[in-house]
Point group: C2
Chain length 230, copies 2
Amino acid sequence: MRIGELSRRTGVSVPTIKYYVREGLLPPGELTSPNQASYGEAHERRLRLIRALLDVGGLKVAEIADVLAAVDDRERPLHTVLGAAADRLGGADAEDDDAEAAAARAAVADLLSRRGWVTYESSPAAADLARALAAMARLGHGAFVEVLDDYADAAEQVARTDLAYVDRQVAVEDMVEGAVIGTVLGEAVLSSLRRMAHVDASARRYGADGPRERKRPPHGHAAHRERGKS
Amino acid sequence: MRIGELSRRTGVSVPTIKYYVREGLLPPGELTSPNQASYGEAHERRLRLIRALLDVGGLKVAEIADVLAAVDDRERPLHTVLGAAADRLGGADAEDDDAEAAAARAAVADLLSRRGWVTYESSPAAADLARALAAMARLGHGAFVEVLDDYADAAEQVARTDLAYVDRQVAVEDMVEGAVIGTVLGEAVLSSLRRMAHVDASARRYGADGPRERKRPPHGHAAHRERGKS
């Protein structure tokens, strides 16, 4: 198909498609004349993947280029491709150096050895976990590490579901690409489900309509902004 | 304490503290002389919360202002405060209008009624979920809805853990603030754990060292970028 048809089918504008080709995200079309290129199903599919990683996964164009290069590198073991995709979901690089940060890193190491999880070198996910736990500890929520195994149970359950799903898809399409889709889009799925489950659990426990006065201990802050309920 | 001491204790610079006060994120200190304000424990704690939402949660300053206003609004039911925090974790506003988007919205409505989840009006989490499912369907992963209940089980487990944790904290500090911390920082915890559980499950199933050739069916893309393994 021509580039205009590819644009129509995917909803991605022609200049954007050309930009993705220039940036190496999308392979160039096959030249059918000096000024005309032809695109196939693989291009359409790759374009949809790029848009999903961009729009739903929140990845940047340069990050997508890295993930796709990992997908296309046939020599690369699957779990390091998953790592390349997953690491794009991580937070900042800043490493704190206080007591809470050290304790959090120790808690993460304990968790990994307790659960016997295989990790790969310099896992950004472990650093992200330590950063979140340290931030909680600084807010007086150091006890959160005590429920970490409940979280890890849930994470394992989701990982099992994902791997079983990826296995099922082998005959249908590229398993590696499917795994990347699952890593990035599955993140959005789990995040939105968790938010809904919170609202449900909270409404059931504390009531959907009543004010929270009864349940809420007094605290020091006055409302410091005039603001309607949004 | 003076602003310099507050800065030293929290690692937040004096100009940044003043900026947070101007933006309404932090209540002003108590004036002890025309040019001097005094800050207390509540300020220190609020500053740490702001930094955690910013650095770990990835929220923007304006979003934090909204979340803190909801926290400080004592009349507001807890589950809508949770909603205000959770909605900041959501994706774009764009609503697609194709067959996949309609099917995904129907799948979300089915899920909610099947599980009997209480939701609140115009839940952005439900819209985010539909958007992720529609993106998957466009990539040929429409069958992912079949494993959605496994994800929902994991989300419920995490929500139960969080609520139990919040309950436990009532005597120690503000439950509402604790719930917001759990919503935003717990997201980072679950995300990093899921990424590690993926790597573990994948390494166990497909091998940590071997190339993936055997397991990977042929596909149409040539590696379109020269790039070392990173």
